[in-house]
Symmetry: C2
Subunit: 430 residues, 2 copies
């Protein structure tokens, strides 16, 4: 009998449905709790129950495991809750945007829903209230792949308003798919930051035993309320264990895995620091400290910008006619020779091209080969050691702030938010 | 005085030009050799000389270093050389294609030129002749970013011919920029391999003290002549030291750094093995062993295939009307919702879409969220844990071999050359 079938049979025999309180007994353990829906990611031989203390655990079921019904489905009554306030604690702001971190599961249907309020999100990790007061609001509720420049602009306004009205820091729970784009965008849009702006996500929703939602959120609150960082940062699991939560620079971070909790990695730079046991450890002493005065928003962006990944069959007509295009070329910054005339033609018509690399790690250097020098001559901007995603966001910003190719180029090659490191380091690689 | 200036002054005072035989004396060492051109990648305070034994070394110059002229430029007379043959050694084939590995430097001008023959290349690492006989030919001489499907087809024909006429294995020196695309293409095009097909590159040309060209080439020859592998593999430095050279699966390898010698990494799988001190160590016992009989070429490819990297501003019109498109989506395989109707419309007109992830590591899973399920319903093919580059090459191949979407889908989701692993491993990640 398949492992899935074993569980199904045992549940059926016991008359148990999702949401019922049950007891699970194996050779080694005996646990009671509410049966949670089976998650696609869990192994077929695992049942997940929510214990009275609120934690979910997964238990491996085999033929000898006993499952019994204790109590039919208990309605989860929403208590009217108000967020506690302690005047001796710092106050931070939670700004909800959607994503896995903001999802909860309807125990009867198994469907995943976004939390309907940022309060719900805060209450999902009540430990947050031990360290700070939390003001909450929802900016929007989206799958992060649908977030656009307009959402970044709205977020920038909200963050500035929160910091300028007294919050020590801002936590932005966000879907992980485009979290790196948003963190780069906010890095360029927000000037004179008076506190940390902390983007945080979860790779596994809170109904799963291996969820990283709670610890990431708690660590984000620690960074927002206790650190003196004046940058946009991303806070996510550093490794697969719960021992260390990484603090990444907002312009240097990228999602590298579809499902692991340690999906996010800093590229071409070290971590800014980590959170371990609720304490912040700074690795990179050269971070920007928070400023005095007021946060300024400078969120003008050119929206007609694209990204083109080059490949062996790329044809001239595959290069679009936009105001700006980030090329994700090969190696040190190469494209097939056959598309160079098209780049020249479009540049003369006003398109700005910026070169990054499919390699992701390392630095663009178009001086090594003659074809690279041809591209430089046309006006293609070599984006140093910038991530393609960061270069895309920055080109939108630079095109809205520079009057011509020379000015845009100067902006692109100036380091504004840690996006360009001056020297390639040999200790930061895979 | 700048470090560069110090060297320039010392060379000028001694009347020394590139190509002259000189002596360099520091506090610790004294070396004689031919002055090599300064390379963009070397530090400004390094002079590089070619010793009599053929090796290049870099020497740090400070104000106390003495440089003296021994002999003005010696013309490098090309001796007519013939490749040795030893009937007790296995014979392999070298097939030149260009790239950094095939470059040599004109000592007078400093310009980098491709070796004009595969013989020259073989003689650049004479140690090769200690382990095998070498048949050489040049397929083409290209910067690898200009290599297209037609070059892959030509290479497949040559490889088959060489193996079918008695060579034990084939070594293909190749530019690193698109080496992973070519190795994937040959993996799908060559059936019933009777010996190893080894692609090899260099990140640093042989005029540089830190060149990886010789050791990579020698290791490639070891794999081609001594192993019983019946797959297309890529042989490159495993780490930054010279101790271990990695053997990667041809469909699972990717260039991750613009300049490091250990730029190539296997994704979602372990190394097939390594070469250490000239000995092959196999890590993955489940590789395909070489077959009996004849190699068969099946190189029909559809050329009208593209790759689209998704980003927050992607618009429906950015999705091109081609026979096939590999989407490099976000996370588990997502695209902005606004382009989904365009994907549906093009699919109905006959375009086949295949989904991969910008994350690079991990596996596509479009069943988790409703939008993913919508994409599956349209017919978008979830490319499991395939690299985007490998999926691109495979889609070209599948479109030339399947009659309709269902057949193409079946081909895409069948593992032919190690491109799909059945289970995600937790030990193979950054």
């Amino acid at each position: 009998m398949s492992r899935k079938k074993i569980i199904e049979n045992k549940l059926k025999t016991a008359g148990v449905q999702t949401g019922d309180k049950i007891r699970v007994e194996t050779k080694n353990i005996r646990r009671e709790g509410v049966l949670m829906p089976h998650h696609d990611f869990s192994s077929d031989d695992i049942v997940t129950i929510k214990l009275d203390n609120g934690y979910n655990i997964g238990i491996k079921v085999d033929e000898d495991t006993r499952i019994s019904l204790l109590e039919k489905h208990r309605k989860i009554v929403k208590k009217s809750r108000s967020i506690p306030f302690d005047k001796n604690k710092p106050t931070i702001s939670f700004v909800g945007t959607g994503g896995t971190i903001a999802c909860y599961v309807d125990y009867r249907t198994g469907a995943v829903f976004p939390a309907t309020s940022a309060e719900e999100l805060a209450f999902s990790v009540p430990e947050v209230f031990d360290i700070c007061n939390v003001k909450t609001q929802v900016a929007f509720q989206m799958f992060s792949e649908d977030i656009t420049v307009h959402h970044w602009q709205r977020l920038a306004e909200i963050v500035a308003k929160e910091l300028n009205s007294g919050s020590k820091g801002v936590v932005i729970p966000h879907g992980t798919d485009t979290l790196g784009y948003t963190s780069a965008a906010l890095s360029f849009m927000l000037k004179n930051l008076t506190g940390p702006v902390v983007l945080v996500g979860a790779q596994r929703s809170s109904d799963r035993p291996s969820s990283d939602a709670a610890l990431n959120l708690l660590s984000a609150a620690v960074v927002a309320s206790k650190s003196d960082i004046g940058e946009v940062v991303v806070v996510m699991h550093e490794g697969i264990s719960d021992t260390s939560i990484a603090i990444h620079r907002g312009t240097k971070v990228r999602k590298f895995h579809t499902s692991r909790r340690d999906a996010f990695k800093s590229v071409n730079t070290n971590l800014l620091g980590v959170v371990e046991n609720g304490e912040i450890k700074i690795y990179d002493k050269e971070y920007n400290k928070k400023k005095e005065g007021k946060v300024v928003v400078d969120s003008k962006m050119e929206t007609d910008v694209g990204m083109i990944y080059t490949y062996p069959g790329l044809k001239p007509k595959d290069i679009p006619d936009k105001k700006g295009v980030v090329l994700i070329g090969t190696g040190l910054g190469h494209v097939p020779e056959r598309v160079i005339p098209r780049l020249k033609e479009l540049t003369e018509k006003g398109t700005v091209f910026a070169m990054t690399s499919q390699c992701i790690f390392g630095r663009i250097n178009m001086n090594v080969y003659s074809k690279g020098r041809d591209l430089l001559k046309i006006g293609v901007i070599p984006c140093e050691d910038m991530l393609p995603e960061t270069a895309y966001v920055k080109l939108m910003w630079a095109l809205a702030h520079g009057k011509n190719l020379e000015e845009v180029k100067k902006l692109m090659l100036t380091n504004f938010a840690g996006e360009i490191t001056s020297r390639t380091r040999s200790d930061v690689y895979l």
